[in-house]
Structure formats: C-alpha cells, structure tokens
C-alpha cells in the first residue's frame, strides 16, 4: 500500500514538473517525410515528386477499360447485375483532382528557386505544365467548365471566400489546356526517359483535347451561360488546332506505325505488348513484381483464368465484331445463313472469320479461337437429328447412341467450358472474349500481376485525330491519307476519295481504338450516346455443334437481360454535391 502511494506521488510530480509549456519542443520535423526544401533543391527530389504527379494522371487505363467498354456498344459484363450491366448515369466516373493540381501548382511555383540549371528548369516546367494540362483535360471532359486554379491556395484564417473560386466557362478551360500544352511542347525534349512526357506527348494530348473542344462546340449545346458548351462558331478554330498539333507530330518523323511483323494479326497483337514500340508516344510502364496491374486477371477467358479467380470481364458484342470489315473493304457482317435461311455449316468454326480485318482477331478472341495454345470453346449447344439441345453446364454430356443428354454414358459436351449453358456465370455472355492487350507470353499462374505497358498516346490515334479534324475542315485528301495509313497497316482495302466521309473516318477510329477507353468519350463528345444507347440490348453469337453435319452452325441471340440507356444529362458528369457544399459558388451541372 505504501509503495503504491509513493509511486502515485512520483507519477504526479513527474506530470506536474514535465508539464512545461515550451512551444518549440513538440514542433519537430517528422524524420520520415522529406520537406519541400529537400525535395525542390535536388534533381532527384524533383524527379521523385514528378513520379507522384504522373501517378495521378486521369488515364482511364487498364482498370477502367472494362467499365468504360461495357458502358458502350463494344461489350458487356458477364454479371447479371443491373448496375454493372447498365451504364453510367453521370456519376460513375468522377475525377475531381484538385489535390493533385495543388501539388503540381506547388512544383511550378517553387521551380524558379530550385537549385538547377535554367535548361533543366525549363524542361521540368514543361513537364509540369503537361501534367497540369492532363489533369484539366480529365476535369474538362467530365464537367465542362471548372475553376482554373494556377497557384497554390493557402488558408490564412479568414480568407475562405477567396478560396471559393467559381467555375470558369468550358471555353476558358479548353483554351487554358491549349495554351499550357503549347508552352509544354516548346519546353519539352523530343526524346525523354520512357514514361516521361516529350514534346510529342504534349502535342498528342493537344490534338485529342482540341477534338473534344471542337466536338462540344459543334455538337453540344451552350447551357448555364457557357459553364458548359461552346459557341458553335468556335468549332473550326478547335478543329484547326487539333489538326495542327497532330500535323506537328506526323511531320516530326519521331513516331511511326508499328510494323515489325509481316503477319498483320500478330503485328496488331504485338503492338500492345512490345515495349520497344515506335508507335507509343507516351506510355505508363509497369514492372513485375514492383508495380503491376490486373488487366489479364480481369479479362482472361474463363478456362485459362488466373489462379486467383476472376475472368471474363469484357464480353465483346457481335455488333463490335461485325464493325470490322473484310479485307476487301466490304461490310463485316458475318455469313451465318444461306439466302434461303438455312444455316451455313463450318467444319472449322473459326472459318466464319476468314478474310476479316486482321485487327478483328487481334482485338477479340472468337468462339473456338486459340489463345496461349488453348482453344476457347464457346459452344451454346448441340443439334442432333434436327433437335437443339442446350441445357446444362460444361459438365453435362450427351449420348450419341440414345440421342439424349446422359451424364453417365455421354461422350460429348453439350456446352463449352468457356461459355453459354447454365453453369458458372463468370463466362462470356456474348460468345466473344477480349484479346487486345492480353499478354499471351505471361504464364497463367502469374496473371494476377501483369506488367505490360498502358499506351496513353499512340501514333495511330494521332493519325485518327488528324483525319477527323481534317474531314471536319473539309480537307478530304489529308483525311484520306491518314485513314489509309491506318488501313494499310491493318491490312485492309484503302479508301478512295468518294469513300472518305465523316462516318467512315469515325468508323475507322472506333475499330482501330476499340477497347482503349476511347469509345465512351468519343460517343459522348459526338453527342450520339443517347441515340446509340436508347433502351437497347445487343447481340450474342451462339455456336452449335451439328452432329450429323459434323460441323458448326451459328445463331444470334439477345445478349443479357438489362437494357442500356444513356441519359442525355450524362454528357456532363455530376459535380459531387460535397464539393458544392464546400464551395457554394460552384453551380451544379444541369439536371443533377
């Protein structure tokens, strides 16, 4: 008892005597965080800081491909979930990156005092401006006009009102992006370390951004006094800006289309996997095992999925497959039936795709196509003596002697391991799987940690930007040249003068850039999403094995249960109400 009392008084006295109110004692710098001074005074510090800025670019990269593609007429999710098989109502893809903009503004503000040579400073400033323009591009394409913040804002205790900046007009945002990228392009080097911006990355972004601005002006409507929408009279100025920026990239000769492999299909597959790629203008690199992504895990066909599970994230529609023309330039409609309506039989089911645009087979895995040595057997059922059998899952067998499903003595499968039937739903609902960007060199066991690079800007996109701007400006011969560069590399018939229309140029863009997160935004900026996606379901291709013919026949069916509808308000995203609560000067976009 006595001891306890002594201890008590010792503790009490310690508390009292150590409770001095020395202001500085606790105000020590954290030892595990670098201070601004340390970072901004060395090149290595700035490089590390720059890496964190690059990391936050709103890229719509590998993790976004499934949801963006499945929100269009490219593909659908296998999930029978209304939300995941439906499409965004304007609240799914928010990006309000003002925290990152603050970081890049901080760098831009402090660079002039950094301990570096003038040329280093100039190049780093260009890089920072490229990053900042990319951030604003991510905001502008979503929200239209948003506040343009160029300097770090600081709270001084009573300046809340000054920090609550109202929205700029949409036109001001695109003009700001254009100016920033012009400055960035003149400061950046022509060649840089892989993964860092070059002059041509800035110009490629400019050509894309100006297409968006021009489309908004031409096809959109001005609302909220210009906070969203641009005067149509401005459209040609932006088409021209896109055209000019793309032309600078083209004329430089620094980049070219990937043409290493004479086999067109293999070439278009390798294009997305080869890191030594003259077509890649700006890429995000990954390196196993330090920095990886999960594209393969999400999207591999069911039977060769990663050991971690998941698969089949993207089920391309028949419509997408038919958008790919035949090599002779005829429309890509598949030949499923004879003129009299009877089915056409294919001994080798992949013969259905003979003479298709080689990009088709490089973009999707067709039923019974081969991937990494495995035949992806998507079979919907069996025809025997004219009777169609499609019940069961991949374990259900069929007895050819009794002509009945028979799991005991059956000899052939009714439905494929990779699709259709009533088994696991984690399989394609359309008959197709995605192939683009899937790394067939990588072992299945490692598929949860992929490290192929994400190509943010590739030369083909610049050519297509150029073609679109040119056709909008009525420069038909330029549009023809650029579109034919793409078609020549792809291995399909070139267009003649009369065929170069806006529709054909857009079509080439949709096909070439399928599943690269473009279509959602392209439909949106052309303001055709609500027409393309108005209470519609798309189509699946179902292969059946015909026992008597010993061959395959194909049928089409409606894919999925849920209709897709794009609500016109989603041409602009909703500004998070939380942001409006913080800054009452922000005006919400229409109809939210």
């Amino acid at each position: 008892m006595k001891n306890k009392l002594i201890y008590f008084f010792i503790m009490l006295s310690l508390l009292i005597f150590n409770n001095s109110c020395n202001d500085d004692k606790l105000d020590i710098l954290p030892i595990n965080i670098l201070t601004d001074d340390q970072i901004f005074q060395s090149e290595a510090g700035i490089e590390a800081y720059m890496a964190s800025l690059y990391d936050k670019l709103p890229l719509d990269g590998f993790n976004r491909i499934p949801i963006l593609s499945n929100s269009t007429d490219e593909s659908m999710s296998y999930l029978g979930n209304a939300k995941l098989t439906s499409i965004s109502d304007g609240t799914w893809f928010p990006w309000w990156g003002y925290d990152h903009i603050r970081n890049v503004n901080d760098l831009i503000g402090k660079l002039p005092t950094a301990n570096l040579s003038d040329s280093e400073k100039s190049s780093l400033l260009g890089e920072a401006q490229f990053i900042r323009a990319f951030y604003y591009f991510g905001l502008g394409k979503r929200y239209g006009g948003i506040p343009i913040i160029k300097e770090v804002q600081n709270f001084t205790g009573d300046n809340i009102a000054a920090l609550q900046v109202p929205r700029n007009t949409e036109k001001e945002v695109w003009d700001f992006i254009a100016t920033e990228l012009d400055e960035a392009a003149s400061a950046l080097p022509e060649i840089n370390v892989p993964g860092r911006a070059t002059k041509y990355a800035a110009l490629a972004l400019k050509s894309r951004a100006m297409l968006y601005a021009a489309s908004v002006a031409k096809y959109g409507s001005v609302m909220l006094n210009g906070l969203v929408g641009i005067d149509p009279a401005e459209a040609n100025k932006y088409w021209q800006a896109s055209y000019d920026a793309a032309k600078l990239v083209i004329d430089s000769g620094q980049h070219s289309l990937y043409m290493k492999n004479p086999d067109k299909e293999i070439n278009f597959t390798e294009l997305f996997l080869d890191n030594d790629n003259p077509e890649a203008i700006f890429s995000v690199y990954y390196q196993y095992p330090d920095k990886t992504h999960r594209y393969d895990q999400s999207n591999l066909p069911f039977s060769i999925r990663a050991p971690t599970g998941f698969s089949s994230g993207i089920g391309p529609y028949l419509e997408l497959v038919e958008q790919f023309e035949y090599v002779d330039g005829t429309p890509g409609t598949l030949k499923l039936k004879n003129p009299d309506g009877s089915p056409i039989f294919y001994e080798d089911p992949t013969d259905l795709f003979l003479n298709k645009d080689p990009r088709c087979l490089a973009t999707v895995i067709v039923p019974f196509g081969t991937f990494r040595g495995t035949v992806i057997d998507v079979q919907a059922g069996i025809y025997d003596q004219g009777v169609k059998w499609e019940a069961g899952d991949e374990t259900s067998l069929y007895n050819l002697t009794t002509h009945q499903p028979d799991n005991e003595n059956g000899t052939i499968r009714i439905v494929g391991v990779n699709g259709f039937g009533s088994g696991s739903v984690e399989k394609t609902q359309t008959g197709f799987y995605i192939r683009k960007y899937l790394d067939y060199n990588m072992a299945q066991s490692r598929a949860a940690s992929s490290d192929q690079a994400w190509i943010v800007f590739r030369y083909a996109e610049v050519l297509l930007n150029y073609a679109e701007a040119a056709v909008e400006l009525d420069k038909i011969s330029d549009a023809k040249w650029a579109t034919n560069e793409i078609r020549d590399r792809a291995g399909i018939k070139l267009l003649d003068d009369a065929e170069v229309t806006l529709e054909r140029v857009r079509h080439e863009r949709l096909v070439e850039l399928a599943f690269e997160s473009h279509r959602w935004w392209d439909y949106r900026r052309w303001r055709i999403s609500d027409k393309k996606l108005n209470n519609v379901r798309f189509t699946a291709l179902k292969p059946y094995y015909d026992v008597q013919a010993d061959a395959y026949r194909f049928e089409t069916a409606v894919a999925g249960r849920w209709h897709k509808t794009f609500d016109a308000k989603a041409y602009y995203e909703r500004i998070d109400p939380g942001e409006i609560a913080k800054n009452p000067t922000l005006i919400q976009n229409p109809n939210y």
Binding site: S221, V222, G229, N535, A568, I580, N591
Partner: protein, 226 residues
C-alpha cells in the same frame, strides 16, 4: 454475486439514462401542383424520372443546394416532406421554355401551379390498332420558336409507362434535315408493325435540339391488338 448484479444494473442505468430525448420535429409541410401546357391547355405530358424537376430554395437555407425532386409523367408534382417555410419554387430541366420563379409560403399542404410554354406539343392525335400493327396520326405544333425540331417517335410499350426509355417497339424518324415550317404543316402518320396480340400503351414523342434532349409527349393511348 448480488453486488455484481447491482453494479451491472447501475452501469446500464447510467448508460441509458444519460440524456433526455433530443430530436427535432419531422418536416410536416407539403407542396404540390401542376404544370399547365399553354398549347393544349392540359397538364404537361412528361416522363419520370428526369421529365422535369422542381427546385425548392428554402428561405434562410444555409447552403445553396436546393431541394430537387422529379415531377410526374402527367405534369403534376408533389413533395409532402418539407418544412413549413417560405420557398422559392422553380420548375426546370423539362421540355419547356424557362419560367419565372414563384415565391411560396408552404404550409400544411400548399398548391402552386405553373403555366409553361412547351418546346413542342402533339395535337390531333389518333391511334388505331390493326392486326399486328399500330397506326398513329398526329400533328406537331408550337407557340414559340425555339431550337430546330429534330425527331419524332411513336413508342409502344407493354406497360402503362411509355416514354423514351421505356418501350418495347417504336417507330422513329429523324427530322433534322426537314424544314421546321414543313414539319409543322404536316399531319404525320407512323406505323409500328410486328406486334403480337395483347394490350399496348402508345405514346408520341417529339424533340427539338434542346440541350438536355428532353422530349414533348402526347398522352398515353391504351390499345388492344386483336
């Protein structure tokens, strides 16, 4: 043992008896009304959701975020769960030209009506059911010139809700290349075919090139295909 029980009860008592019931009264005001279409002199035909919205700005409200709720397809609206107070009320984001804000003292259940000028109206409508098909006939009119008229549709639905996103069959015609004067002078006829027998709900939808792609609708016509 008893001591433990007593202690337990004391603690529980302290736990639950800490504060008095502290709560606000729930909202007990209501606002309702309708939008009158000044061409047809009936309520404005619309859709739900997103047909049109009512925005309420509460007097003395701290934030600038209004209370927003959707109107009903027949052009009426009601919100029976707001506080009794003075509000600025504005119907917006519908297929009509902007209207003036009304200032309304909302009480127990307060009616407020608006007259709106729709972008377009559908008049002179007749819908006939044939064998396996539906024929609609109608005229597009307007009282104020706005954006270009771009589209007309006859929507056929198996459920009474029939609008631009809820339909099973449709006939759709692009009018963007047709002169407005010609459009307004024409009595249009649409035919929707390949229908099985049964009950259907038919509605005409027409649209100008307005920023939010809002449609003006006819009433819903129930028909039965023999």
């Amino acid at each position: 043992m008893t001591l433990k029980k007593i202690l337990f009860l004391l603690i529980m008592g302290a736990f639950f008896a800490s504060c008095e019931i502290y709560n606000f009264a729930e909202p007990n005001g209501a606002i309702y009304g309708s939008l009158m279409d000044n061409i047809t002199n009936e309520t404005l035909q619309s859709e739900q959701p997103e047909g049109f919205n009512i925005k309420l700005y509460e007097e003395g409200g701290r934030m600038n975020s209004p209370i927003i709720f959707s109107g009903k397809p027949d052009g009426t609206f009601e919100n029976a769960w707001i506080f009794q107070n003075e509000y600025k009320v504005i119907p917006t984001e519908g297929a009509f030209f902007p209207v003036d804000t009304a200032v309304v003292k909302v009480g127990d259940r307060t009616e407020v009506n608006f007259t709106v000028t729709p972008f377009l109206a559908v008049t002179n409508v007749s819908v006939e059911a044939g064998s396996g098909k539906i024929t609609s006939s109608y005229k597009i009119v307007r009282s104020q010139i706005g954006d270009k008229i771009v589209e007309r549709k006859t929507l056929v639905s198996k459920v009474p809700t029939s609008n631009n996103v809820v339909f099973d069959f449709k006939s759709q015609t692009d009018l963007s290349e047709t002169d407005d004067a010609d459009i307004l002078a024409t009595q249009y006829t649409d035919e929707v075919t390949d229908l099985t027998s049964g009950k259907y709900y038919v509605r005409i939808a027409v649209r100008t090139d307005n920023g939010l792609n809002k449609y003006n609708y006819s009433k819903v016509f129930p028909v039965t295909i023999p």
